[in-house]
């Protein structure tokens, strides 16, 4: 059989490749170019929370410790106004096998792939998810291929991604290391077709349901410790799965009044598919280059409909600068005795700014940590930035320009972050929906779906349609 392997031809076979590699027929849930039966799709994964927790425990996932950060809370209270300075807690997700919350996301896919008799699994990811899939596959006796975007046209790899290549190979995966470009997805499709392996996409219902236990554990641990629900949970946001899964878990546990706060590193102005900009970013994920486009149009992923729908659950969206995160990372290390990687420290940065505005008896939870080490340590991120001509200095972080300068605060009171206008994001989502299907053709079902998908009502959708 000689199939056409050109970019256009392989991409055109997307639907059949996806169906074969996932065992999910998305057509069963899709009701229009916009709407689909989201909750029914999530329910039909067929796993209860108890079963998910049991499957995860088998492969060293979940039940991670929750720590109160007394010293960082005290540091915040020193600069906060009278009566202000909420208690800061941190969920130490680096304790999962492979060192991040992504193990939760990979665990159910690995179980499902094994159960359905696939020989192996594939994921396209340059982040912690690769190591998570490799680690879960290893434990389930499955072969594993990770497709990664690693190096620019000079052959220079992002140190953090090189570390992730190493981790994937350490867990026994074959790693396809690619140059910069969105054709990563083409390579994924090609490899799925060649191997017949399971598609461990980040965005399937299995991935998201696996994260729900994280939200449930947070609610249960905070209740046991403090006798009430957390007031806010801060979640580093990129593709939306972390936020969606955690928020769904909080709701499943009945923590209905907990504020769900997204946080991303502000990389405004850098192009995500640019060969030149590739190594001018000091963060490879958890940044606005993913966070904003995925929030405002989730269905831009490697599956027909994305199970990660962040605006459905998001109450606030905080932005922080790279310099602020590096400052807070160093504070966590020196004051709390924890050396952790950049992803969780992004939400810690936002949590510190929120805690400052919240009352002392309130509780803010930083929902994840990740492992750190050579390549993905903040010292390497900064020295690499310097090697690539980025200015690094101490000063006022609001003066930093992504891709040009990283300004590390001189004092904690300069860690302030910035609030994103949620309604602007919601309107942007509606604009994208109008591109998928002209507004004149929207049915009542479409309006209802869109309203739920941005956590508003149908009237709000109608009032905020800007042509």
């Amino acid at each position: 059989m000689n199939r056409d392997m050109s970019y256009a031809a392989v991409t055109a076979r997307k639907n059949e490749i996806m169906k074969a590699s996932l065992g999910i027929d998305f057509d069963e849930y899709i009701t229009s170019p916009i709407a689909f039966e989201y909750e029914r799709m999530m329910d039909q994964t067929g796993y209860s929370h108890t079963e998910i927790a049991r499957i995860q425990a088998e492969t060293k996932v979940g039940n991670t410790p929750l720590f109160e950060l007394h010293n960082l809370t005290a540091a915040v209270r020193k600069i906060a106004g009278p009566g202000k300075g909420a208690r800061i807690f941190l969920k130490d997700e680096s304790a999962n096998a492979s060192g991040s919350f992504k193990a939760r996301r990979a665990s159910i896919s690995a179980f499902e792939a094994m159960k359905k008799g696939y020989k192996g699994m594939i994921a396209a990811t340059s982040g912690n998810y690769g190591a998570a899939v490799a680690s879960q596959a290893a434990q389930r006796g499955l072969k594993c291929i990770i497709v990664q975007e690693v190096f620019d046209s000079r052959g220079v790899g992002q140190p953090e991604i090189i570390e992730k290549s190493r981790a994937c190979e350490a867990y026994g995966a074959e790693v396809l290391r690619l140059s910069v470009g969105p054709e990563l997805f083409y390579m994924l499709l090609r490899t799925l077709e060649e191997t017949g392996f399971f598609n461990a996409s980040l965005y399937t219902p299995f991935g998201i349901r696996g994260v729900e236990t994280l939200g449930i554990e947070i609610a249960e641990q905070i209740r046991a410790r403090c006798g009430k629900d957390p007031d806010a949970v801060v979640i580093t946001h990129a593709g939306g799965g972390n936020l969606t899964g955690t928020a769904r878990g909080l709701l499943a546990a009945g923590a209905n009044n907990t504020r769900v706060v997204a946080c991303s590193v502000d990389l405004g102005g850098l192009h995500m598919a640019s060969d030149r900009d590739f190594n001018r970013k000091s963060f490879t994920t958890g940044h606005t280059g993913f966070g904003v486009p995925f929030a405002t149009w989730p269905d831009r992923v490697d599956v027909p409909r994305n199970a990660a729908r962040s605006l459905r659950y998001m109450d606030e969206y905080q932005l922080v600068t790279q310099g602020e995160v590096f400052y807070v990372t160093e504070m966590l290390t020196k004051l709390e005795g924890l050396e952790r990687g950049p992803a969780g420290n992004t939400s810690l940065t936002a949590a510190m700014t929120l805690a400052r505005q919240m009352d002392r008896d309130q509780i803010v939870v930083v929902q994840e940590t990740e492992y750190t080490g050579a390549g993905k340590h903040h010292n390497r991120q900064l020295s690499f930035a310097r090697e690539n001509g980025i200015e690094v200095r101490r000063g006022d972080p609001t003066e930093s320009v992504p891709g040009k300068s990283i300004i590390i605060p001189e004092r904690l009171d300069q860690v302030r972050g910035k609030v994103q206008d949620m309604d602007r994001l919601r309107r942007s989502y509606l604009k994208n929906a109008a591109k998928a299907l002209p507004v004149e053709q929207w049915s009542e079902n479409d309006y209802a779906f869109l309203a739920a998908d941005i956590k508003k009502n149908v009237d709000w959708v109608k009032e905020n349609l800007v042509s």
Partner: protein
């Protein structure tokens, strides 16, 4: 050039897409470069760097490409010291 032995752990490179075959919507700088793949495995024939070879990957797949590196290894590090970080969270800064 010396022959590399059968079974040696090596890295190959493949041109997956030439610049003109790439995705239609790319920024100008990316558009001008080929889309490349690097992957490691055990060499299946005695050969030299620069030759087209077949490897067997760690999961047993056979892939073909140009022999690029012999015994590819990781040398990423913690980087050179960034003095700006040293004093954060210490008495020196209070």
């Amino acid at each position: 050039m010396s022959k590399i032995q059968f079974g040696t752990w090596v890295e190959i490179e493949q041109i997956i897409l030439k610049p003109e075959e790439r995705a239609p919507t790319l920024p100008e700088d990316t558009k001008q470069t080929p889309f490349l793949l690097n992957v490691s495995g055990f060499l299946q024939t005695e050969s030299e760097v620069g030759q087209i070879v077949t490897i067997r990957t760690i999961i047993g797949r056979e892939l073909t490409g140009t022999l690029k590196t012999v015994l590819p290894s990781y040398n990423h590090s913690f980087g050179t010291v960034v003095p700006e970080l040293l004093t954060i969270g210490t008495e020196a800064e209070q």
